[in-house]
Symmetry: C2
Subunit: 120 residues, 2 copies
């Protein structure tokens, strides 16, 4: 990376340093949220999360039927959500039901209440 810094004189060097330290200190929280939002920042996955929030549990087939999408495509989205522990699988015979994990429920309680109240 070539460094093309601005040469400006009125830069507040104290502010820059304070911000750098603050960011560094918050790195893990920021990482957690950026990963969470990255997953939710996809129309298909947000719909899946929204559906699980309301229906409590659904299997791949259900989601595939509702979203009118290929089962394999849905399954691959579910895997991403599962890998980051946003949803949990529960096997019942051949069927695997997914539900929202508690850790992320706090966030989605908030997000989906905004969506439903249209407080945009």
């Amino acid at each position: 990376m070539k460094k093309i810094t601005c040469v400006r004189t009125q830069v507040n060097q104290g502010q820059i340093e304070r911000c750098k330290k603050d960011i560094e200190q918050r790195t893990s929280s920021l990482q957690f949220f950026s990963e969470t939002m990255n997953l939710a920042g996809n129309m298909v996955r947000l719909k899946i999360l929204y559906l699980l929030f309301h229906e409590k549990q659904l299997c791949v087939c259900d989601i595939s039927d509702i979203l009118e999408m290929n089962i394999s495509a849905v399954s691959q989205h579910l895997r991403k959500l599962k890998d980051k522990k946003m949803i949990l699988p529960r096997r019942e015979g051949q069927t695997i039901y997914y539900s929202l994990s508690e850790k992320h429920k706090v966030i989605f309680d908030y997000v989906f209440s905004m969506i439903e109240n249209e407080n945009l």
Copy 2:
């Protein structure tokens, strides 16, 4: 798209239809949130939003210094945020200061308060 539906007998067809209708009705809200989270779901952009939340306003150079990133790369992230009206530019001579837009501040008030309280 080849339709490979599950043949299961115990599917609740009423539930499927209700969900389809619900999703359709919420499409625009879900779209808004998925776009918002898609933008925030990137470590660099989330850091930028976090910085603007605290510092009120910053120019590209400031952000470039703080994140130790190429100015052009930062500028391209700022453009995406600006395009979706998440941040607003304000020119002051040669310098352009960016700040969070009011529309999204509600969401970030919540997200960043969680980040700071480590309520993950």
